[in-house]
C-alpha cells in the first residue's frame, strides 16, 4: 500500500476489529455458561415446586385427561412440565408441552430430542406420591437468548464502526502532519536548492530519513560544485590557448617589423602544438572515463612497452632518456593501451618540467612495478594529493601543461590494475612517479 495513512488506517481498523471480535467471543461463551447455569437452576426449582404441589397420584385429575397448568417462569411457553406416574402413565402436562415423554432418565438432568427439538430436562422422582416430575426447556431457545444478548451488544458496536473509522482517519492525518509538512517543504524546493532540511522540527521516527536526505544533499552539492569547477577549468584550459592563438595571429598581421611577425608566427606554432596535445589529452581522459567494457588484461612486456612509447616521442634538446636494463623482460599483467597512455603522460610530464636533465625509467627493487624519475623541481608536498585532480595545475606548472597528464596517468594505471604513486626524490630535486601493482 503506497499511502502510510491508508496502511495505518487499515491496520488499526483490523486490530480494533480483532479485539472486538475476541471480546464478543468471550462474552458469548461467558454469557452462555451463565445463562445455562441460571436456566438449569430454574429447571430444578420449577421441578421441585411442581413436585411439591402434586398430591397423590389418585388425586390428580381423571385418568386419560391430564391436567394442564401454567408453568412457572418469566418467559411464556419457555418451560414445559410433564408429570408421570411411576408406572409410566402421564398424569399431567403443562400447556404446550409435548405429549411424548421428555426423558427416560429417572432423576436429575438429561437431554433428549423430542419432536425435532433438543430438550434439557430436570426430573424429580417422588416415590411417596408415586410421581415423576419433569421440567424441561428447549436448547434452541437458550441459544436464542444468548444470541439476542450478543446482538444487543454487537449492533451498537457496528453502528459505531463508521464513527470510529472517521475518528481514526482524522487522528492519523493529524499524527502524520509533520511528515506532510516536510514533504510539502521538499516539493516546494527549487531544483538547485541543496540546503539542509530543518531536522529539529522532524519527529524522532523521521530523523533517520532527514539525516539521510541531508547527507545526500551535501553529496549532491559537492558533486555539483566539483562539476562546475571542472567545467570552469576546462573552459579556461581550452579558451586560453585559443585566445593566445588569436592574439598572436593578430600581432603577426599587424606587425610591420618582420622580426615581430616572425616571432608571433613561432608562438602560433607553439600554441598549435600545445592545443593539439590538450585535445589529445582531453580525448584520452574522456575515453578512460567512458570505457564501458573492461580492460583487456594480458601479459605485458613492460620494458618493451616503455622503450617503444618513449622512443616514439620526440625528445626536446637537452633532455636525455635512460631506460634501466633491469626493465628488459620485466612483465606484468595489465591493459596494454592504458599502460601505454600512462607511460606517455608520465614521460611528457617529466620532460615538461625540465629544461635539461635526464628522465630515467627503471624497475622497482621489489619488482612490484616501475618508475619514471626526472630532475625537475618536483611537487610541493602539500600538492601531491591534488595533482591528479583534473585540471589541477600546481605552483610548479609547466608552460605547456594542461593539468590533465597526471590525471590520465592515474586513471590509466588503475585500468591496468595498478596505482600511480608520486613522491619527491630525496637524493636531489625531482619527481619519482611509480606505477605499482598492489
Amino acid at each position: 500500500m503506497s499511502s502510510l495513512r491508508a496502511r495505518l488506517f487499515a491496520i488499526l481498523l483490523l486490530a480494533t476489529g480483532l479485539i472486538w471480535l475476541s471480546a464478543v467471543a468471550w462474552i458469548y461463551l461467558g454469557s452462555k455458561r451463565e445463562v445455562e447455569q441460571v436456566l438449569d437452576t430454574r429447571l430444578q426449582e420449577a421441578a421441585r415446586m411442581v413436585g411439591s404441589l402434586v398430591g397423590r397420584v389418585g388425586n390428580v385429575g381423571a385418568a386419560g385427561a391430564p391436567v394442564a397448568f401454567a408453568p412457572p417462569g418469566g418467559y411464556e411457553r419457555q418451560l414445559s412440565c410433564q408429570i408421570w406416574s411411576l408406572d409410566g402413565r402421564m398424569v399431567a402436562r403443562s400447556s404446550g408441552a409435548p405429549e411424548r415423554r421428555l426423558t427416560d432418565a429417572p432423576a436429575g438432568f438429561s437431554e433428549r430430542e423430542v419432536d425435532g427439538e433438543t430438550w434439557r430436562v430436570f426430573t424429580v422422582e417422588d416415590a411417596e406420591k408415586g410421581v415423576r416430575v419433569m421440567v424441561g426447556d428447549r436448547l434452541g431457545l437458550r441459544e436464542r437468548l444468548v444470541a439476542d444478548l450478543i446482538m444487543g451488544l454487537v449492533t451498537p458496536a457496528l453502528l459505531v464502526v463508521p464513527l470510529l473509522g472517521m475518528l481514526l482517519w482524522a487522528s492519523l492525518g493529524r499524527g502524520l502532519r509533520p511528515l506532510r509538512l516536510m514533504a510539502r517543504d521538499l516539493a516546494r524546493r527549487d531544483a538547485d536548492d541543496m540546503s539542509a532540511i530543518d531536522a529539529g522540527r522532524a519527529p524522532a521516527e523521521v530523523r533517520p530519513l532527514t539525516d539521510a536526505l541531508n547527507a545526500l544533499f551535501l553529496k549532491v552539492e559537492a558533486a555539483r560544485r566539483h562539476e562546475r569547477e571542472v567545467t570552469a577549468f576546462a573552459a579556461h584550459e581550452l579558451r586560453t590557448p585559443l585566445a593566445g592563438l588569436k592574439t598572436q595571429a593578430q600581432v603577426a598581421m599587424a606587425a610591420r617589423d618582420p622580426d615581430v611577425a616572425k616571432a608571433a608566427l613561432g608562438q602560433i606554432l607553439a600554441a598549435v602544438d600545445r592545443t593539439t596535445r590538450l585535445v589529445r589529452q582531453l580525448l584520452d581522459a574522456a575515453r578512460l572515463d567512458a570505457e564501458a567494457d573492461g580492460p583487456t588484461v594480458t601479459e605485458i612486456d613492460v620494458g618493451a612497452l616503455v622503450t617503444e612509447t618513449v622512443e616514439s616521442m620526440r625528445a626536446p634538446d637537452g633532455i636525455v632518456t635512460v631506460i634501466d636494463p633491469a626493465l628488459r623482460g620485466f612483465t606484468m599483467r595489465g591493459d596494454p593501451e592504458s599502460l601505454r597512455l600512462a607511460v606517455r603522460n608520465l614521460h611528457e610530464n617529466a620532460v615538461q618540467h625540465m629544461r635539461t636533465g635526464t628522465v630515467e625509467w627503471g624497475r622497482r627493487q621489489d619488482g612490484a612495478g616501475f618508475y619514471a624519475r626526472d630532475e625537475g623541481p618536483g611537487i610541493p608536498e602539500e600538492e601531491i594529493a591534488l595533482v591528479t585532480t583534473r585540471f589541477y595545475r600546481g605552483r610548479h606548472r609547466s608552460d605547456a601543461g594542461s593539468g590533465l597528464g597526471l590525471t590520465i596517468a592515474e586513471a590509466a594505471s588503475r585500468r591496468s590494475g595498478a596505482r600511480l604513486r608520486l613522491r619527491n626524490r630525496t637524493d636531489r630535486s625531482g619527481l619519482q612517479a611509480e606505477i605499482v601493482w598492489t
Binding site: 573552459a235 579556461h236 579558451r239 585566445a243 588569436k246 592574439t247 600581432v251 608562438q267 600545445r274 600546481g394
Partner: protein, 220 residues
C-alpha cells in the same frame, strides 16, 4: 600609456605584450597574483588587464585588494568563464570591463582606451590642446589639420603631457609611463623625445620648467 597584463599563459601573455605595444602602449607582464600585487604596489599603470584564473589564486582577489587600497586604476578582466553570473561577479568586484576568451586584440585595446578615458573623465578618444590634436585610437597627431608623423614614444610623451595640459610632468614620471621594467632607458631619452616633438609640432608647444619637468604651453 603603461599597462599591466596579469596572465599566466605564456603565449597569450606574449601576444598581449607585443600586440598592445603595437597599439601604442607600454606593457608589463606578470603571471601570478603575488607578482600582480607587487607590481601594482610599486608602479603607476594606466590600466590593468587581469586574467581570472591564476596559478596562485583568483584574479578577483587581486582586484578586490586593489580596490580596498583605494586604487582606482581601471581594470579589464579576461576570462574563459563568461557566464552572466561570472560577469556580474567580476563587475561587482570592481572591474571596469570584461572580455571573454578568446577575444579580439583590437577590441581589447579599444576597451582599454575606453576605460582609461572614462577614468580620466574624458568623453572622446582624442586629446586637444591649442591646434594640436591626438587621436588615441589611430595614434595620429594633427597640428592645425595637417597630420604630423611621430614615433610611438614621441606620441606617448605628447599624450602624457596633453592629458592635463597645465600640469607639470617630471622626467621620472614620463620615463615611468614610457618604459616597462625590462626596457633599457637612456638617461636623456625623455629630453630627446621632447626635442624631436618640438621640431615637429612647434618650437614653443612644450614648455620646460627647469628642474621640475615639462608641460604644454597655454595657447596664446
Amino acid at each position: 600609456m603603461r599597462i599591466l597584463v596579469v596572465e599566466d599563459d605564456p603565449i597569450l601573455s606574449d601576444g598581449l605584450r607585443v600586440g598592445l605595444s603595437l597599439c601604442g602602449a607600454t606593457v608589463d607582464c606578470v603571471a601570478t597574483c603575488a607578482d600582480a600585487d607587487a607590481a601594482l604596489g610599486t608602479s603607476p599603470f594606466a590600466a590593468v588587464v587581469l586574467d581570472l584564473m591564476l596559478p596562485d589564486g583568483s584574479g578577483l582577489d587581486v582586484l578586490r585588494g586593489l580596490r580596498r587600497r583605494g586604487d582606482r586604476t581601471p581594470v579589464v578582466l579576461l576570462t574563459a568563464r563568461d557566464a552572466v553570473a561570472d560577469r556580474i561577479a567580476g563587475l561587482d568586484g570592481g572591474a571596469d570591463d570584461y572580455l571573454g576568451k578568446p577575444f579580439d586584440l583590437d577590441e581589447l585595446s579599444a576597451r582599454i582606451r575606453a576605460v582609461v578615458r572614462r577614468a580620466a573623465g574624458r568623453a572622446t578618444a582624442s586629446l586637444e590642446h591649442g591646434g594640436i590634436r591626438l587621436d588615441l585610437g589611430s595614434l595620429t597627431v594633427t597640428v592645425d589639420g595637417a597630420q604630423i608623423p611621430v614615433s610611438r614614444r614621441e606620441f606617448m610623451v605628447l599624450a602624457a603631457l596633453m592629458e592635463r595640459p597645465s600640469v607639470l610632468r617630471s622626467k621620472a614620471e614620463l620615463e615611468d609611463r614610457l618604459y616597462g621594467w625590462q626596457e633599457e632607458i637612456e638617461s636623456n631619452a625623455v629630453e630627446v623625445h621632447v626635442h624631436n616633438l618640438r621640431a615637429k609640432i612647434g618650437k614653443h608647444a612644450i614648455e620646460t620648467v627647469r628642474g621640475l619637468g615639462y608641460r604644454m604651453r597655454a595657447p596664446a
